[in-house]
Homo-oligomer: 237 residues x 2
């Protein structure tokens, strides 16, 4: 935890917060701040700053906060990612969020197993925890928007072209593409689409190209999805 | 498995191989090639090519190989990475190897727990399996050289300066650096050093700078080690 992410309802008085539960345990067992010591904090969707420990109790800590610094700038990338097996989904989500992505569309594709859509990681409480852990890791406060599209065609044919139209660059990873990832534009949003393990199929590749996405490659090597997405985001940052 | 990695002792006759054990199970249960079908293959430290299924038996498969294509070019990066907890070590190793890194020095640092050096993942058989899985994933055949340095100072003061001297670029990730990762040189080797969770300490940062490494940043966000190394390697590829 590199930032204590707080909510409006953590406040007991102006500038004064009470932290219990998971975050308290993290503070007590890992961060171990002394009374008077300050740690980095930030309020959901708002400023970051510092929190000083006032009182340490058995099951909660009382802190004083000053929140005067905007969170880091968001990534210009909107990620479109084929749904993945639960563990890979969590890794991709964590990587993208810690790299500042604020908008992700998870989509179906032919090589996505239907069971992935029933996974417990997609429940609101699980997703919320994954988002919080990522924001706490990277020192951000701004919640992402996640959308889930359980059918490929309606998303790729109806929604994607509109996204592409308003973006400065639109790409998708394609194993047989020869174009490397271009230098990102100085401004404007970027659409990046990443396939499932095994890649998009030929039909899907065609639909993505027709929607205006440029097929690009990371090179001759085939990376696992979570490494490929991280590498593509790094090249576009 | 995007490439069946074979050894000299898999050959029963010129061009003919017999595959059993883990790789056989992977073929039978995941890849499921038919008789006559070909899959990508490559021989350890040698060419890649194709293998056609001749016979499928209960516990082995017999295949015919043609190995006529060199493996993908290696990454110019020599990675110097602080030792990590076992799971993170495996993730960093996998990421670096699948991105083509062929030389990695794992080193001690103040924030590295001594117990990490006793981990089972460092046993030869475990390391060999991790290397094979990474080469099979990315379609490469060339084994990396891994070195382990259980003391920071002798490595950083005696070995690192020599590595830096023969490289075209030498960098290390530093949380408070303001220089972004530079565009990699057209040719020549690159030294990239990455710290433990929590970063190198002040003394270590100074030693690395004095050894000739440039402190660089990936931006305001703090990434988990495996994502940071992947992102740095992507920016240098």
């Amino acid at each position: 935890m590199n930032l204590l992410l707080i909510d409006q309802n953590d406040f007991t008085a102006p500038g004064k917060i009470l932290i219990s539960g998971r975050r308290f345990l993290q503070l007590r067992d890992v961060i171990k701040p002394q009374i008077g010591e300050t740690i980095r904090t930030g309020i959901k969707n708002g400023n970051t700053g510092k929190a000083a420990v006032l009182e340490f109790h058995d099951d909660h800590v009382v802190m004083e906060t000053v929140l005067d610094t905007p969170p880091p700038a968001p990534s210009p990338v909107t990620l479109v990612c084929a749904m993945q097996r639960p563990l890979t989904f969590k890794k991709i989500l964590h990587g993208a969020l810690t790299m500042g992505v604020k908008k992700i569309h998870f989509i179906h594709a032919a090589k996505v197993e239907k069971s992935y859509w029933q996974s417990a990681v997609l429940r609101d409480a699980e997703l919320d925890l994954e988002i919080r852990l990522a924001l706490e890791q990277c020192g951000d406060t701004v919640y992402p928007e996640l959308e889930f599209h359980t059918r490929f065609k309606p998303f790729a044919e109806d929604i994607l072209p509109q996204l592409v139209e308003t973006s400065a660059l639109a790409l998708f990873g394609h194993p047989r593409a020869t174009t490397p990832v271009p230098v990102p534009p100085e401004s404007g949003s970027i659409i990046l689409a990443a396939g499932p393990e095994g890649g998009f199929n030929e039909f899907e590749n065609t639909v993505l190209e027709e929607a205006g996405l440029l097929p690009v490659t990371l090179g001759a090597r085939v990376l696992r999805s979570e490494y490929a997405v991280t590498a593509l985001l790094a090249k576009l940052s």
